[in-house]
Symmetry: C2
Subunit: 165 residues, 2 copies
């Protein structure tokens, strides 16, 4: 399967990745959340090729994650801003950052901290169940086919085929 066919799969994760799963795209979005908006600023901060940057920004705009917003005319100059759809990617970004803080930090520790303006504390994000409020762990979550998709073999048969252990 080619990468660009991934969004046709009946899988929300695959479809999300068809938008943000590219090598550079999430780094671009990180900078968007930090307030970077202009082409040359992205290029200078990321060390990304202008060629690829232009392509990724265009795709993010097409996907509705960013929108172009003119900040001067003659010559027309536009900056890139997160839409609401883009802002909703925040849990993804923050989860990636916290994993890196935990597992990829060097001797100096994580490079940035996050402070919650509401309570004033340094913090990290915790994922909880929307129904009961408990912290989520992978083993506690059962995945079920939705009725509309039932019987299509979206989920693997857990039993090993020839070597049941």
């Amino acid at each position: 399967m080619r990468w660009d066919e991934l969004d046709q799969q009946p899988c929300s994760l695959a479809r999300t990745l068809s938008v943000v799963g590219d090598r550079w795209t999430l780094v671009i979005l990180r900078d968007c959340f930090l307030g970077v908006r202009r082409f040359d600023d992205f290029e200078a901060r990321l060390g990304i090729t202008r060629h690829v940057l232009a392509d990724r920004l265009r795709k993010l705009v097409d996907a509705g994650v960013l929108e172009k917003h003119p900040y001067q005319e003659r010559p027309l100059r536009e900056e890139y801003r997160l839409t609401d759809k883009g802002l909703d990617l925040y849990p993804v970004i923050l989860s990636l950052v916290h994993w890196g803080d935990r597992y990829m930090a060097d001797a100096q520790g994580p490079p940035v901290r996050h402070r919650h303006r509401h309570c004033g504390q340094h913090m990290r994000g915790i994922l909880i169940c929307s129904a009961c409020g408990e912290e989520l762990h992978p083993r506690d979550v059962a995945v079920e086919e939705s009725p509309a998709w039932a019987g299509q073999g979206l989920l693997p048969a857990r039993s090993r085929r020839r070597n049941p252990s």
Copy 2:
């Protein structure tokens, strides 16, 4: 900058992406969380080239996200299992899935549901502040350089350079 230099940046997100930021890697990990463990099963479910699959699995093992576990000898056959480090990527996976559920679903709706075994309800993951327990929104989180990294210009100067608005 080349992609493989990304892990040298002082940025937890960039470093995380140097492990999982590849196009296929997060789809492989999705299947790991669904219980897929064997080479041929990954290949059949993902439609990924064997070549690339072998390479990505090797890199995930090198990174400590997966580990090889023999399930038979003669001939030696090994399966891939998530380590604790890998299991800790669950918030990333679930956040990606929920964004896709919301923005990328088609008329049939999201293909799978998640049920929390503790409370028995269908649910989604919500990101809250570890300090005060409130739900997190991007505008409420301030990013600060850690003392050890201060003054290195990790964060952009928010003021626009020539066109302050």
